[in-house]
């Protein structure tokens, strides 16, 4: 049985190699920017990718910071491809040209470019007056590489009506994917966009609008939304580590338990999404090898993680609110709240 919230074929390892970025986007969950120099060494990540492969991870997704500013990106992409893994990266698109773009050729299966609405909205979110213009100017070059590409749209409380324009733009540009990701109030988003997180009404509308957009564009574009219908989850507790499955964690691959897994720029390896409580982290690459931390986590931490999953699952299933919600946000918030409560009682 496939475990973990993610899919059955692709087991994702999301790597944030650096917080260095040319922009200071308002919604950035990692508070990345030009002043941030935190980064992981390539040898550390090469070893982590190799050992993650042994744990079943086969989809390496680079994010940041701006990953194309990471000097050893090509080396990591080549290494992942040599291991037979799928590779993708998320970029703000403003620097995707010349040598930086060429370094992605032949080793990148999907390039995701941020697009947060009509040009004026996009520029506001990117905190840069020419961000859209710069990104758009690079799209011809991206197409010429032949790398499949898509756009990622950050949904806020007030921009759903721009999704139609974004969808049309994505089709016009020849994108393969449009992914809608709800804003979470973490990182810079917590201070710069307070009150802009889409509430349950906006999330529900976004879910419906996603269906509508997919219907309108047909096969021209895959439209995805990072939200889930609670009623669809009721029978999937095991998939979320919230069920009664008692198959020993020690006998399972980490990718069958945690998917996606995230490596943060400080070396922390955490479940599910950036910013997950360190109390449930797998370990830190600066202190332990990936293989060793995975074995220890399954033995020592998994019971607590599973209890957290079960508690959040029961809480969500007991709600009588609109059923569309962000599971990852719910469990990440709960992980931090739980860690805070534990610290207070200690």
């Amino acid at each position: 049985m496939a475990m973990g919230p993610a899919g059955e074929r692709f087991k994702a390892l999301q790597i944030h190699p650096t917080r260095f970025c040319n922009l200071t986007c308002l919604h950035c969950y990692s508070s990345s920017g030009p002043e941030q120099r935190e980064a992981l060494g390539a040898p550390l990540l090469v070893d982590a990718i190799t050992e993650a492969g042994a744990e079943g991870y086969n989809d390496i997704a680079f994010s940041g910071g701006e990953p194309i500013l990471y000097g050893d990106l090509r080396r990591l992409l080549e290494h992942a491809k040599a291991l037979g893994m799928a590779t993708s990266l998320t970029s703000n698109g403003t620097l995707l040209k010349g040598e930086r773009l060429a370094r992605l050729e032949g080793v990148t299966d999907l390039l995701a470019i941020s697009l947060d609405g009509v040009p004026a909205s996009h520029n506001r979110m990117r905190n840069a007056p020419r961000a859209f213009e710069q990104m758009r100017a690079n799209l011809d070059g991206v197409r010429n590489t032949g790398i499949p590409f898509g756009f990622i749209f950050t949904l806020t409380q007030r921009n759903l009506h721009e999704l139609r324009w974004v969808t049309a733009f994505a089709v016009e540009q020849g994108a393969s994917l449009l992914q809608i990701h709800p804003l979470e109030e973490v990182g810079r988003g917590m201070t710069e966009l307070r009150g802009q997180r889409p509430d349950e009404i906006e999330a529900s509308f976004a879910y419906l609008q996603t269906i509508r957009m997919q219907a309108e564009v047909g096969d021209a574009l895959a439209v995805r939304v990072d939200l889930v219908d609670r009623e669809r989850l009721r029978e999937a507790a095991d998939r979320l580590n919230a069920g009664t499955c008692d198959f020993p964690a020690e006998n399972r691959r980490l990718s069958d338990i945690i998917n996606p897994l995230v490596i943060e720029p400080d070396g922390a390896v955490v479940p599910l999404q950036y910013g997950f409580s360190r109390r449930c982290q797998i370990g830190n690459l600066h202190r332990t090898s990936f293989s060793a931390m995975a074995a220890q986590w399954k033995r020592d931490v998994f019971p607590e993680f599973r209890e957290l999953c079960a508690r959040v699952f029961a809480s969500e299933m007991g709600k009588d609110t609109l059923p569309i919600f962000n599971w990852y946000e719910a469990i990440s918030n709960a992980s931090r709240a739980s860690a805070g409560a534990a610290a207070l009682s200690a």
Binding site: P5, A6, G7, R9, F10, A12, Q14, A86, S88, T90, L110, L111, A112, N123, R124, A128, P148, G150, T156, Q157, R158, N159, L160, H161, E162, L163, S176, L177, Q179, I180, H181, E192, L193, G195, Q196, E202, S204, F205, Y207, L208, Q209, T210, I211, R212, A215, E216, V217, A222, V223, R224, V225, D226, V228, D229, R232, P260, Q273, L322, P323, Y328
Partner: protein, 111 residues
């Protein structure tokens, strides 16, 4: 550069509702619940949620678990019906059947 305005600004969904249902329509929470229930009854499944924050590579490699465009056609038809929220008010949740949908959501002139 000005910061994005805060929650005092209009919801994005207000503009969508205005486009779909007309200026005088408001979409209630109950109506949204019912539309979502109908989408479930029609077999609409969106599994993109599990990609969460990373590009959905399966979406461009031909291993999609669902084809929402198929069910989406039905849903678009529902959404296109004038003043849908008024028609779905009062629908009992969780027991929407195809027969009921056909009865309640036929477009003008089709009943």
């Amino acid at each position: 550069m000005d910061k994005v305005e805060t929650s005092t600004a209009a919801r994005g969904s207000n503009a969508v509702a205005e486009e779909v249902f007309g200026k005088s329509s408001e979409v209630s929470t109950q109506a949204l619940k019912q539309l979502l229930s109908i989408s479930r009854a029609q077999g609409v499944r969106l599994e993109g949620w599990w990609t969460h924050g990373k590009p959905a590579i399966e979406a461009v490699t031909g291993v999609m678990h669902v084809k929402p465009e198929v069910a989406g056609q039905i849903f678009t038809q529902l959404l296109s019906v004038e003043r849908v929220p008024l028609k779905v008010e009062g629908f009992p949740l969780g027991i929407v059947t195809t027969d009921l949908i056909e009865l309640r959501f036929s477009t003008p002139g089709q009943r």
